[in-house]
Symmetry: C2
Subunit: 422 residues, 2 copies
C-alpha cells in the first residue's frame, strides 16, 4: 500500500510537512515503511499482514461468537481510532477539562445526544466516565450521599448491575419485565431511584410502553427524591422505524441519562457519559473525583474529534445498515426452522425461546462450549425465573464469519436428536 | 476549505444528492458555507477560525503551577505514548485478557515490579485498573464483600481517599502521622485494613520507620482478617539512596500493593495496578467487573509495549535525573531565604512550613490565585490540625518554566511586607 505524499499527509493531518518527513524517516528506519526510489513510500511487506482484516484471534473463545454485548470489531475502526488519538495527542496542549471531563467532548456530546437521541442537555450537565458500570457506581454513590437508599432495577437486566447500588448501601428491589417493559406497579414514594432500559429492554428486547413511560415520569415528578436512571446502551440502533427518543427529554431534571461507545465503537474503550439533572452534577463530579478519577484524557479528545468531524455518526450509519442486514438474515434463518425471535426491532441481540427443546439444546451447548457462544437468559435473571431462552448477539462476528455463525446456531437449535421447539 | 462535491458527499454519507443540495443551500443561507461561482462550495471565512488547530487553551490555571500530584508533561512523552498505542493497535488481534486485564501487561508488570520495587508477585495476582482511586474503590468493595468494615487511614493523606472506603460501608479511623510515619499504636484486632504510604508519606514526605514496618506486618500476620493497603504512588523516585523496597515483599499475602503511571507518565492516562494476596484476586476481579469494567485495552497494551521495549524504565531514569536536579535547585533556593524543606528525599513534592509568616503568605496566595499554584497542607488533613504549611510539587512546570516558578515561589514566601518565617 502506497502512502499519500508528505504534502498531502501534512494537509490532511494539519501538521508541518517537516514533521511528516521526519516521522516517515523514523518509520523507514524501524522497518514499518519502505521508501522506493521514484515510486514513493510504501507500507513494508512484513507489516502489511497486520493491517489486513483476516487475522485470527489468538485468545480462545468460541469458534462462532454470538454472545451479546459487543459490536462488530474491525481494523477499519482501529485505524480511525488511532488517527483520532494521534490528532488528539497533537492538539493535547489545548486540553480544557475539569472533574467532569473534557469540555470539548462534553460540548460535542451535548449536540450529538440532542441530534441522535433527543436528549435535552448542555455541556455543563454532562459528566464523562469509563462506561456504564462506572456510571452506575458514581450515580449510586452520589444519590446515597444525598440520603437515597432504595433502588428498583429491571429483572432480568445486565449481569451484576445491582452491585454498584448495593455497594453504596442501597436496598435493591426487582421490577419484573413483561411485554410492555418493566412493571412499575410497585413503585412508591419509598423508592428513591429506578434503573430502566426504556428504548430496548436488556436482555428481553421490548420497549417501555408509552403508558408506562408516562407513569414512571409522573412518579419521578410527584416524588422530589425520585430519579430515573435511563441506560440507553444501544439507542443508536433501531431498524423498524426512527429511534424512540430517550425518556430523558420527558423530564430532564428527573432522569439520569447514561450512554457509552460500547455498542457504537467498542466496550474495550471504556468510555461513557452521563447527562444529569442539574442538582446531581456536583455530587456526581465529587463521586468521580473521589472514587474513580475519570476517563483517560486522550481517549476523550479522540472521541470529541470523531464526533466533530462527523466520522462517529457516519460509522454508526454504516453499522446500522450492516446490523439491519444481519438482523434480517437471522430472522429468516430462524423462521426457516420454525422459530420466531422477539425483540429484534432494535439493538444488537435477540432472544430465542427454547420451549420443549430446552434440555436438548442446553446439553448440546454445554458439551461444546467452544463451538457456538451464546448466553442463557438465566444469566440475567435475579429472582424471577423465566422459560429457558438464549440471548443471541449478532454483531460480533466478522462479515465473513457471520453467515456461518448463524448456520451453526440454527443447526444447533434443530439437530435431529432434539424435539422441535414449539 | 473546499467541500467535496454534492455527488461525493451523497455517496459518502449514503443520502440522496437532492438532500445534500438542499442542506448546502440552507448552510449557505445561514452563512456557514459560501458558494463561489465555478470554484465550488467553501467553509465561510467567519467560521474557519473555529476549525483551525492553533487554539489557545481556554482553561486558565496558575501562571506557575507548583501544585503536587503531576509529573512533567512533554511532547516527547506524548509522541512515545502515541507510538506505543499505534503498535498496540496494529497487534490488537492478539489481545489476551480477562476480568483482571491484559495478560501481556500483567506479565510485564510482574517482572517490572520485582525489578523496580522488590514486589513479590505473579501475573495472575495482578489486576489492572484505572488508577489509584479506582483501585481503592475495588479493594474496599472486595474487602466489604468478605465482611470487613473498619479501616484506618493516615491523616493527613490524599484528598478524599477515605470516600471509596466509606462508600463501601467502612468506618474510617485516623492514623496520625509523625516523623516516623503513621502512628500505629491504636491498631487492634477490630481493624480490618490499614491504608499506608510507607515509602514516602503523602503529603508529609517521610518514610515509615523500620520498627513500624515490622509492627504493621506483625499486626497483619497475627490478625487473619488484617490487610495492609500499600499506596506506592511515587516509589520510583528516590534521590538520596536506592529506593526503599515495597512493604509488600515483607508479607505478600497480607499486603495489597497499589501502583500507577500517574507519577511516571501522566495521571490523565488513568492506568494503575494492584498486586494482590491470592485470596483477594477473585473478589477484586468480581468488583472490577461489576463496578467499573476495567481499563481501556489499547492503553493497557501500549503500556505493556513500553515496559517490554525498556522505554518505560528509560523514561523513569531520565525523569529521576531531572527531578533530582529540580529538588536540589528548590532546596538551595529556599535555603538561600532561610527555609528548610523536609520530606525531599523522595518523590515529586515537598512541604514548606510557614511558621509565623503563615497569615501573610496565605493572604498573598489568596489575593493572586492565578500567579503561583500550590496547595495548603490543610487540604489533606481530616481531623488533626497541623501548623500551616504548603505542599509544593516541583515536577509539573516545563524545563524552561521551572526556575522562574521557583523564583516566583521564593519571592512570594519572602516579600518585604511579611515577617520572616522562623
Amino acid at each position: 500500500m502506497r502512502l499519500p505524499s508528505s504534502r498531502e499527509l501534512a494537509l490532511e493531518l494539519g501538521v508541518a510537512r517537516n514533521t511528516i518527513v521526519a516521522v516517515t524517516d523514523d518509520l523507514v528506519a524501524e522497518g514499518v515503511l519502505e521508501a522506493r526510489a521514484r515510486a514513493g513510500t510504501f507500507v513494508a511487506r512484513s507489516v502489511a499482514p497486520l493491517l489486513s482484516e483476516s487475522r485470527t484471534p489468538a485468545s480462545a473463545g468460541p469458534e462462532f461468537d454470538l454472545r451479546p454485548g459487543r459490536p462488530e470489531a474491525g481494523s477499519f475502526l482501529t485505524a480511525r481510532w488511532l488517527t483520532a488519538i494521534r490528532r488528539a495527542g497533537a492538539a493535547a496542549a489545548d486540553v480544557d477539562s475539569d472533574g467532569a471531563g473534557s469540555v470539548a467532548l462534553r460540548s460535542e456530546l451535548a449536540s450529538y445526544l440532542a441530534r441522535a437521541r433527543g436528549v435535552e442537555t448542555t455541556a455543563d450537565a454532562i459528566v464523562i466516565c469509563a462506561g456504564y458500570r462506572t456510571a452506575s457506581t458514581l450515580v449510586a454513590a452520589a444519590l446515597a450521599a444525598g440520603g437515597a437508599s432504595s433502588v428498583a432495577i429491571e429483572d432480568p437486566s445486565l449481569f451484576g448491575i445491582e452491585r454498584p447500588w448495593s455497594t453504596s448501601g442501597f436496598t435493591v428491589s426487582d421490577l419484573v419485565v413483561d411485554e410492555d417493559g418493566a412493571d412499575l406497579g410497585r413503585l412508591d414514594a419509598r423508592t428513591d431511584a429506578v434503573v430502566l432500559t426504556p428504548s430496548h429492554q436488556f436482555p428481553l428486547g421490548g420497549a417501555l410502553a408509552p403508558a408506562r413511560r408516562r407513569l414512571v415520569v409522573d412518579w419521578a415528578m410527584a416524588n422530589d427524591r425520585g430519579f430515573i436512571v435511563e441506560d440507553d446502551y444501544d439507542g443508536e440502533f433501531r431498524f423498524d422505524r426512527r429511534p424512540v427518543a430517550a425518556l430523558q427529554r420527558s423530564a430532564p431534571e428527573r432522569v439520569v441519562y447514561a450512554g457509552s461507545v460500547s455498542k457504537t465503537l467498542a466496550p474495550d474503550l471504556r468510555l461513557g457519559w452521563l447527562a444529569l439533572p442539574r442538582d446531581l452534577v456536583r455530587p456526581v463530579v465529587e463521586a468521580s473525583e473521589a472514587l474513580t478519577g475519570g476517563a483517560p484524557m486522550l481517549n476523550q479528545l479522540a472521541l470529541a474529534d470523531l464526533i466533530r468531524t462527523g466520522e462517529y455518526e457516519r460509522h454508526i450509519r454504516r453499522q446500522r445498515r450492516e446490523y439491519a442486514r444481519r438482523r434480517t438474515h437471522l430472522q429468516q434463518a430462524l423462521r426457516s426452522v420454525g422459530l420466531e425471535v422477539p425483540g429484534l426491532a432494535a439493538g444488537l441481540h435477540g432472544l430465542i425461546p427454547l420451549g420443549d427443546a430446552a434440555p436438548t439444546v442446553l446439553s448440546r451447548l454445554e458439551s461444546q462450549p467452544d463451538h457456538v457462544g451464546v448466553h442463557r437468559l438465566a444469566r440475567y435473571t435475579r429472582s424471577h425465573d423465566r422459560p429457558e431462552a438464549l440471548v443471541v448477539g449478532f454483531a460480533t462476528p466478522s462479515r465473513a464469519r457471520f453467515e456461518p455463525a448463524i448456520e451453526a446456531l440454527t443447526s444447533l437449535l434443530t439437530a435431529r436428536d432434539s424435539r422441535p421447539p414449539r
